[in-house]
């Protein structure tokens, strides 16, 4: 099973280590040539392969997008056609700068990512914990102190596959519903950077997501408006 990771920074290398330990064949890329990240991958994610982004996408059917949020639009919009794309990014204004599209509160940032990559099967996940928590809090299935990680997406099959990945990485997967529900996994939503059990996280998603989801149905900009920007 091959997992692709676009972005060889703090988050990308952390997810890579976890995935290798879980038995995945991991391919990752940075913003340029493969040899620019070869040493980083060799030391921080030994066992992963350093490739170009195009090669990573070719190679994997699940790809994690772990680049700085203000940079994802540097990638071609059709890059992830047909692939399951895990949006692990978070938008923070103090770090990413003011971005009118991404600061729109209701639609959720993953909806913006989906609109930019219209042919990708976007699932919002793995954005919820700090990278050192992703590193330190992985536990085998059934452990009493295993924590939960949510996944939200329109493509239900894609969500289920991401949930299997989450489980194998060492977390209890929680189906957070449609992509719009990803709002509750974002920095201003409650689960962010908190270690919940699967039950607690499911309850929170259920309690918080429904009203937000309804709001999105009526107030999100028409999809064409977002796509036109691309």
């Amino acid at each position: 099973m091959c997992l692709g990771i676009v972005g060889a920074g703090k988050l990308g290398t952390t997810i890579a280590r976890a995935a290798i330990e879980a038995g995945y064949d991991v391919a990752m890329s940075g913003s340029g040539a493969a040899d620019e990240i070869a040493l980083t991958v060799d030391v921080l994610a030994p066992g992963a392969r350093a490739l170009t982004t195009e090669e990573v996408v070719d190679h994997a059917d699940i790809v994690v997008l772990a680049v700085p949020t203000h940079r994802f639009r540097e990638l071609p919009p059709d890059l992830f056609a047909g692939k399951i794309l895990i949006d692990a990014m978070n938008y923070w204004e103090p770090v990413d700068g003011i971005d009118d599209e991404l600061s729109s509160p209701d639609a959720g940032t993953s909806a913006v990512v989906q609109a930019y990559f219209p042919s990708a099967r976007v699932v919002k996940s793995l954005n919820q914990l700090g990278y050192h928590e992703l590193d330190e809090l992985r536990r085998p299935k059934g452990s009493a102190d295993r924590i939960a990680v949510g996944a939200a997406g329109a493509d239900r099959l894609a969500v289920r596959r991401v949930m299997r990945l989450i489980d194998r990485l060492g977390f209890d997967p929680v189906d957070a519903g449609p992509l719009e529900n990803g709002v509750v996994l974002e920095p201003d939503g409650s689960p962010f950077a908190v270690t919940y059990t699967a039950e607690e996280l499911s309850d929170l998603v259920a309690a918080r997501a429904t009203p937000a989801g309804k709001r999105i149905a009526t107030s999100a900009p028409p999809r064409g408006a977002l796509a036109a920007r691309v």
Binding site: G9, I37, T40, P94, V95, E133, D188
Partner: protein
């Protein structure tokens, strides 16, 4: 021989009755803390750079110059200089002058900074975060190593055969790169042949052993000489573990709650704080506890320097002074003793046990 530094962001402290001291008072209090740091044997005193109501460190070179006038031996530096939004020529003039004023004691840690308030304040675009740092580091390194400088870049006017005064011998001002964990930043430090200062604020410090390895391998690959590695982390020392935790926790909570509000994190719980104290890179406790944990991390990460960001948040000046005294008189001799008595290879990481 390991060097010990104290780092501060010059917080507006608690006056001891819950009220904030005046900002100008906080500035003068910091100078007293630095003078005491020299008296109790610290190797360096380093000041951050922020543009926020809770920190008074916006012009650290001015404060360092005042400290220089009242001290003789301690090195004076930054932690960190937010180089991305500074003009490297101005950084050079400020610190070459500080070096002259202090008779050769200036040092710098340059970084991208984790607080980004300086970007809008000085008219820089956060979208240029990576490019700004790269370009400015390039120019600063040239100014420090090889004048006159001919240089051109995207973010400031070009220089042609430019000498900048006052002159300092090439490479004389120790300049480190501050890194928060980004692998690219580690490799960049190696590429410029600059020593590495790791800032570890949360999580287990052992995690950064891989970054140390990455840095060493990158130096090797780039045919750079071996260079020192330092660590910057938070801490507080009191006569007992319980007292240190009791004094530090409310101010830690307050500071991290405000950061959490801004960045969308959840505020820390007391249990998380204790877990950081026990297992994280946070050095809170009695002199014996803190000394053991420092000795352990020095070995684990092969450190040549340890910078303690002392007293997190608004801990009152009086308690900061008491802490510096304990740190210099009790913690440092004990760390040196521990490091001298046990060979690095055989050391298992020490985990602090609270009384």
């Amino acid at each position: 021989m390991i060097e010990f530094g104290l780092d501060t962001f010059m917080p507006v402290t608690d006056d001891g009755h819950g009220q904030p001291v005046r900002g100008d008072q906080a500035v003068r209090d910091t100078i007293e803390e630095a003078v005491l740091a020299e008296a109790v044997g610290l190797d360096s005193f380093n000041i951050g750079e922020h543009y926020r109501p809770e920190f008074m460190d916006s012009a650290n070179h001015v404060v360092l110059a005042a400290i220089a006038g009242r001290t003789e031996r301690i090195r004076l530096g930054t932690a960190v200089t937010v180089l991305s939004t500074q003009d490297p020529v101005r950084v050079y003039t400020d610190f070459a002058t500080l070096d002259a004023v202090s008779n050769g004691r200036a040092q710098l840690i340059v970084g991208r900074g984790s607080a980004t308030d300086s970007f809008p304040l000085f008219g820089f675009d956060l979208a240029d975060y990576e490019e700004l740092f790269e370009e400015k580091l390039d120019l600063l390194v040239r100014l420090l190593r090889d004048q006159p400088v001919s240089w051109s870049g995207e973010f400031r006017p070009p220089l042609t055969d430019q000498f900048v005064s006052p002159p300092v011998p090439s490479g004389h001002i120790p300049t480190w790169v501050g890194v928060g964990g980004s692998p690219n930043s580690v490799i960049r430090a190696a590429r410029y042949g600059l020593p590495l200062m790791l800032a570890v604020i949360g999580g287990r410090p052992e995690r950064f052993a891989a970054h140390v390895e990455l840095y060493k391998r990158a130096l090797e690959q780039l045919r750079q000489p071996e260079l020192p590695i330092g660590l910057h982390s938070l801490g507080f020392v009191a006569p007992t573990d319980d007292e240190a935790i009791e004094v530090q926790w409310p101010y830690y909570k307050e500071q991290f709650e405000s950061a959490a509000r801004e960045r969308g994190w959840r505020p820390p719980t007391y249990e998380q704080f204790l877990s950081e104290v026990d297992h994280g890179s946070m050095y809170v406790g009695s002199p014996e506890t803190v000394a053991n944990r420092i000795a352990s991390v020095v070995r684990t990460l092969s450190l040549s320097r340890f910078h303690l960001h002392y007293a997190i948040g608004r801990v009152p000046h009086e308690q900061r002074m008491a802490m510096i005294e304990l740190y210099g008189h009790e913690v440092l001799p004990r760390v040196r003793e521990l490091l001298a008595s046990e060979p690095r290879e055989n050391e298992a990481p020490t985990i602090a046990v609270r009384s």
